[in-house]
Amino acid sequence: MEFFLQQLVNGITLGGVYALVALGYTMVYGIIQLINFAHGEIYAAGGYMGVILISWLFAQGFPPFVCLGAALVLAMGYCALLAMAVEKLAYQPLRQSSRLSVLLSALGMSIFLQNGLMLTQGVYDRAYPTEMVQGGFELGTVMISYMQCIIVGVTALLLVALNVLVYKTRIGKAMRATAQDKTMSALVGINSSRIISLTFAIGAGLAAAAGIMVGLYYGSVRYDMGFVPGIKAFSAAVLGGIGNITGAMLGGLLIGMIEVFAAGYISSEYKDVFAFIILIAVLYFMPTGIMGENVDDTRV
């Protein structure tokens, strides 16, 4: 039981992070029907920006929470700019091309960014200064670290903020309108290029936050850290129903839980396999996902 609860806490932590990354996939897919392969790299860039900024701010003598907060905000902004640049350069010129072309372009950008990170940051792991937030508390028999509290808290805050943005604000409505009908949204005066750019920026901001969370959680980042979590987060988006924001959050939590429990109870070597198997099973048996709208097969 104790083990179970402990795994539950870990699963929520990890699942929240996957949810943040999954949102970027699902929002971009929802608006331009593209699997943005470069999204995993944006997440990795966020992780690096986190460690770069936290180390610098910490060395300047700022207190830990200021470091964390400032690094979070700056890294989110950085990744938003990065994703907008990627979209402008590699996806926007291909708006009229076949989907295969855009997909390949996305794959190219993924390789490009990953190697760009490697060239500028080196091939070795870079350690997070995790010593700034230490300790934790016991809830019954379950150990919860303060770091986990921060991660879950920030994740929850971002998820709520996103929901408000998408469902309550004018821009959020415009985003949903553009995803549903680009021609019509242009006819009511919505500049779809700008909305698409913004969608990339928001998704990237969330991914950057996730990258920092993971860096704090595992204590280090690596240039190729985006690849496997990228696939898992995409699985989460598919599991939740691609294009659906609530679905991506749920899917992320589920994938995180499944991974942690499978690692704990079945096999830790094969933990990465489970997410893929779920992805395949969902696509095969339930292609619309748990919250999904109908995915039209003829639009390929």
């Binding site: 004018r170 409505k173 309108a177 549903q180 779809s192």
Partner: protein, 241 residues
Amino acid sequence: MTQQQPILELKNVTSAYGRIKAIREVSLKVYPGEVVSIIGANGAGKSTTLMSICGVLHPEQGEVWYDGVRIDGLASDLLPARGLCQVPEGRRIFPRLSVEENLDMGAFFRKDAAAIDHDKNRVFQLFPILQERRKQYGGTLSGGEQQMLAMGRALMSRPRLLLLDEPSLGLAPLIVQQIFRIIREINEADGVTVVLVEQNANLALKSSSRGYVLETGNVVMEDSAEALLANPDIRKAYLGE
């Protein structure tokens, strides 16, 4: 009326989908305050004409002038703010936005919250059913309600020129009458100029002052609505006599 400056003018507009020319050298003029019909059979190029006006399709040749400004190179999202608004074929309401959100999208470019609220109330007055269904997803409405929503959404942008593409398509006769009554009302009461594209020529011409007849991408006739209604060729070809 003819001494006035036209609010919309097409000069020899040719538009194509790929290599297939959909309209050829279409010229037409619309004066402020008019209701003008464009009638023609399926595939005659009526919707293409509207899409070419709205910048969804950029003409290969020719010019589109609106309110003294040449607009054929402009992106379509810049036009609603200038008072040019289209209700496209098939209505194209946003299916997973609520009725109210759909209306909000019509006023997307506007910042004047109080006036927007006022206009929303006016739309609800014109179409009371929309107020009842305010929180419902647009996609769950019936065809007639969707047409009302689409028109309501267009009105939310305070248009000066409203382009309506087949507003009667697929609707029950009673609802069609209601829609056309409202078209006349917004023309007369709000002074909105209307371009009406219709297959139902009889209905369209009866609500219009003038009409253009399109055939395989060309304007073949242009006259006052009464004259067109009286024309034996038109009666034969489009009014089923």
